[in-house]
């Protein structure tokens, strides 16, 4: 009975309605424009008067200033994701959890790197964002461990543990977790792609979105590798599952010029926002991080479109999770940007609205 109610249309309608209400509470474009014209104290006050109050109040004992804002925002994101997971019934929860597990990768690697560098536990904890499937208690337990080996052992129930276990020895030997990190992200995408065909409503359109996300991540990687002068051993850095095959991506990464890469991308995206971005990117009008921002905007727009087309599906939940993430990123960007003395116009260029 329970499983029927958790997989039937009612659960999707229920979840979609709750997510739509939450989404409506997110800051609007006008709010960001208003924030861009404020000073740092006003921004702090604005944040304290919104959904973030509880976390800011809680953390005010340990942090102050811009660090309080940033950590407060991150903790709010983590708490909000956990609240959303509690609301979601059955397969929707499983699906959302799978997508949120990329935060686990960030947290696990931060702990491993911090421990192997001899960073104090408190300092590592400040950097963690417990927005994934590994909860705060588990993260604390991992932080209490001294050796990276014990940390890996303690993660035996984590969905990506097999990859972690497989790659760990090589990472320890080479002294760098970069390869392991890349493998974990690739495994993450494989896992989420698999979840989209698990019978979840909206799985197919979300799969299309995910393929776009994989494509854009691969395009960013190709451009970064080109700009970083890396031409060899790029195969391992490409995520499978998108529209581009790994061979094509490797060929693109070996391009002689940035224009060649852009032209290669345009073969798959001959029109639309991606093609337009490749056009201006090829002209050298964008710094790479600006292009990344524009590509993120393309992803969010796609997500918005599919959530409108499939309102009572997992897509409405996923779009909220994404939008919430970028609200936090935008607020942090405004606060950090103001603190660093960047102009409002400059900061606006880094916002995803």
């Amino acid at each position: 009975m329970i499983s029927a109610s958790q997989t039937g249309p009612a659960s999707y309608i229920y979840a979609a309605t709750r997510m739509r209400v939450r989404k409506s509470k997110l800051l609007a474009r006008e709010d960001y424009i208003r924030l861009l014209n404020m000073g740092l104290p006003e921004i702090t006050r604005f944040i304290e008067e919104t959904e973030y109050k509880a976390e800011i109040d809680e953390l005010a004992v340990s942090f102050s200033g811009i660090d309080l804002i940033e950590i407060g925002l991150s903790w709010n994101l983590a708490n909000e994701y956990q609240r959303v997971l509690k609301i979601l019934p059955g397969v929707m929860k499983t699906f959302a959890r799978s997508y949120l597990s990329h935060w686990d990768i960030f947290n696990v690697l931060t702990i491993l790197r911090g421990k192997s560098q001899g960073v104090k536990t408190g300092k590592i904890k400040e950097i963690l964002i417990p927005a994934g499937t590994i909860n705060v208690v588990t993260l604390d337990r991992l932080l209490a461990e001294d050796s990276p080996e014990r940390i890996v052992e303690n993660l035996s129930s984590w969905i990506l543990h097999p990859v972690l276990e497989r790659e760990f020895a090589a990472a320890q030997e080479s002294g760098s977790y970069a390869g392991m990190e890349n493998e974990l992200y690739k495994a993450f995408y494989r896992y989420v792609l698999k979840q989209t065909v698990s019978g979840i409503k909206g799985g197919k359109p979300f799969r299309e979105y995910l393929q776009l996300e994989i494509d854009l991540t691969n395009i960013k990687t190709v451009i970064r590798l080109y700009q970083g002068g890396v031409r060899e051993d790029v195969r391992d850095l490409m995520i499978e599952g998108g529209n581009f095959s790994v061979d094509e991506l490797v060929r693109l990464a070996g391009s002689e010029s940035i224009e060649e890469i852009m032209e290669g991308v345009k073969k798959y995206y001959p029109s639309g926002p991606v093609a337009n971005l490749m056009e201006v990117g090829g002209d050298g009008e964008f710094a790479l991080h600006e292009m990344e921002n524009a590509l993120t905007q393309v992803m969010l727009d796609k997500m918005d479109r599919i959530s409108k087309r499939y309102p009572f599906s997992i897509c409405s939940t996923m779009v909220y999770l994404k939008r919430k993430r970028y609200e936090v990123a935008n607020l942090r960007a405004i606060a950090r940007g103001k603190e660093s003395g960047l102009s409002g116009e400059q900061i606006q260029g880094y916002l995803v609205m």
């Binding site: 977790y177 950090r336 660093s340």
Partner: protein
């Protein structure tokens, strides 16, 4: 050298003349060394000026880009990426000789790294982290270059100063004193010669009478 300590003998005069010659030769060599060092110093000074400007420029760029990184990724993202770096730059100190002055030659490795060597995963970070890492690597590289140039400049300056002191000591103290002593001995020897002449004349006159 006090004149009272000078023995007014012919051998002493010969010694003094040798010393004067040696001092004058040393003086000329040291003067040439000083001028050479000054020339070298001005060359290094130009490099140092360029290097200081480059440091200022690269520091401003690094600060600008880390401000953007903090804005885009947050300090959390930047700190997490920074934790990935395991390999620290290695410096090898060698010695170089500029006109007898030993100056350091610093060889740095593992300062500038490519994307694959930095230790963070490409898929979990963004391009702004690459740009930040690259900007700071360039800054560290320039600081190491500046350290070499500025140490060279400092050592050259010290050497110029001590050479200048030696040149001045030779020009205004040692050589004049030696010359004075030599003139004194010459005068004393002449006087003694005249004494001897007068004495001989007197003896001759006495013996005639």
């Amino acid at each position: 050298m006090a004149l009272k300590d000078v023995k007014p003998t012919r051998s002493e005069l010969i010694n003094l003349k040798k010393k004067i010659k040696l001092s004058e030769r040393g003086y000329n060599i040291l003067k040439m060394k000083r001028d050479g060092l000054i020339l070298e110093f001005f060359k290094v000074l130009e490099e140092a000026k360029g290097s200081r400007d480059a440091i200022g420029e690269k520091y401003a760029r690094a600060q600008g880009i880390i401000a953007i990184a903090n804005t885009v990724e947050g300090s959390i993202g930047v700190k997490a990426a920074a934790m990935s770096v395991r390999e620290k730059p290695e410096l090898t100190l060698k010695k170089k000789n500029i006109m007898g002055v030993v100056v350091p030659e610093i060889e740095a490795t593992k300062v500038k790294k490519d994307l694959a060597e930095r230790g963070y995963g490409v898929l979990g970070t963004s391009a702004v982290i690459d740009e930040t890492a690259s900007a700071f690597e360039e800054l560290v590289d320039e600081i190491i270059r500046a350290a070499e140039i500025e140490t060279t400049m400092k050592r050259l300056l010290n050497e110029i100063e001590s050479t200048k002191r030696r040149v001045n000591a030779l020009e205004f103290k040692v050589i004049p004193e030696l010359k004075e002593a030599s003139a004194f001995i010459k005068m004393r020897l002449d006087e003694m010669e005249r004494d001897e002449l007068v004495r001989l004349k007197k003896i001759k006159a006495k013996s005639k009478a």
